[in-house]
Symmetry: D2
Subunit: 136 residues, 4 copies
């Protein structure tokens, strides 16, 4: 299992008139968590794209347990639990507030796509290599 | 069953560098679909809020089958399939492009909350009244 | 002078906790207005991009006179006042609410960029041709 | 003069299909800069709002000199240059990339509004007190 942690502060423009972090903005926070999870492995998602690998999201499931508010400093845990899939990868995300209350949790599924052919491809060697020590 | 239809054109700022409608922006389109579904019943979600009912999203599940692109005119079908729940309501959404290809589908679960007490409450009478003819 | 008109309804996710349309979201509305202004000339900005012309924004100036609220149906007037510039184009925008009150006005300056060379280029012939009847 | 510095990393969802940070998202970065500028004075904008002071933006002017890209770590300088206005405050913003190139600069004007009466009010004492040492 591989886990990474990121902190994100809720922006004013990300709230809605209910005074909550808008439900649609969690996807951005999940993305930041995934980006940082890859960065903490020693390379970047940007480099993957530059090498011709895209990782579009194919499924997104999220549960909102408690609201987040403007200026809250949230902690995002991003976790990869298994490497069994060849063409896709699942990121499990949990978001906590400063009181360590779980606000939101969910799973995002991404596929590996060759940028040129736009076809599904296998997990890039670089990513598999860096992740594998966490799965033995 | 109650179904409503809305059209939304993809904005430039809603795309990402992959050239796709960013996965996080679908939540906004789902919201527009739900808002229009209520409007087509003869009142507005804004009026519900003014009467002291909030409807925060508690669960959001979405699948991305094909990408949407800038300037695509999308058709959003928003459907309520049953009224069995007392405190929550499920909206089923499907998004099609101009070639009538299904791009995305998902379910959003919202709860009814009293704006003052911030406590869960039952479906507002007005909403139940307007929906019930579709469920006999 | 060339003027085009578009209608946009304020989305819930575009409001902030003040209950106003977030000031940062006006840029999106301006973009929708510009896109529709070009569409009403008989082609699309998407087509321009496909032909290798990008139009990045180089300057954006906007004044917020009155707030816009959730579910307001706004009218966006987008106006081109002169064609004197070779490498850039100015769009003047005014946004009105349903009571015909002016909420916001501003100017966006875009340059023409060759997508391949990433260098500044002159206004595409197609755009100049369609606009010129309005400037005689 | 009072200056504060913040770092922001460009999110994938904030880019557009041109591969640039979308021009409309700079407003969010300016907001983060202002929020941090106030935090570095020893209190928060959130506290101001809780005390009944709103600070809506009334004018926003921004120039885009060079594009920002996905995953760029930007440095935002937020500066208050004078305190002469009674009812409003101007924030000057400059955004640099990791190569210390100036990408964007602009000015945002905010007014002080009483949350209850919704009327213009003078700069809150707390803010004036903390800022004044920088203007002697």
């Amino acid at each position: 299992m591989y886990t990474a942690t990121t902190q994100i502060r809720v922006r004013y423009g990300e709230t809605d008139q209910m005074g909550y972090l808008y439900y649609g903005n969690y996807a951005l926070y999940y993305e930041v968590g995934r980006t940082d999870a890859i960065r903490q492995l020693g390379f970047t998602y940007r480099e993957l794209e530059e090498k011709g690998i895209l990782m579009p999201v194919v499924e997104f499931h999220t549960q909102f347990l408690r609201p987040a508010f403007y200026d809250d400093l949230l902690t995002v845990h991003t976790c990869i639990k298994e490497l069994n899939e060849e063409y896709k990868i699942l990121f499990h995300t949990e978001i906590y507030n400063e009181k360590n209350k779980l606000l939101n949790k969910g799973v995002t599924t991404l596929v590996f796509v060759d940028a040129l052919s736009k076809k599904k491809t296998v997990m890039p060697e670089l990513l598999r290599e860096r992740l594998s020590p966490y799965f033995n």
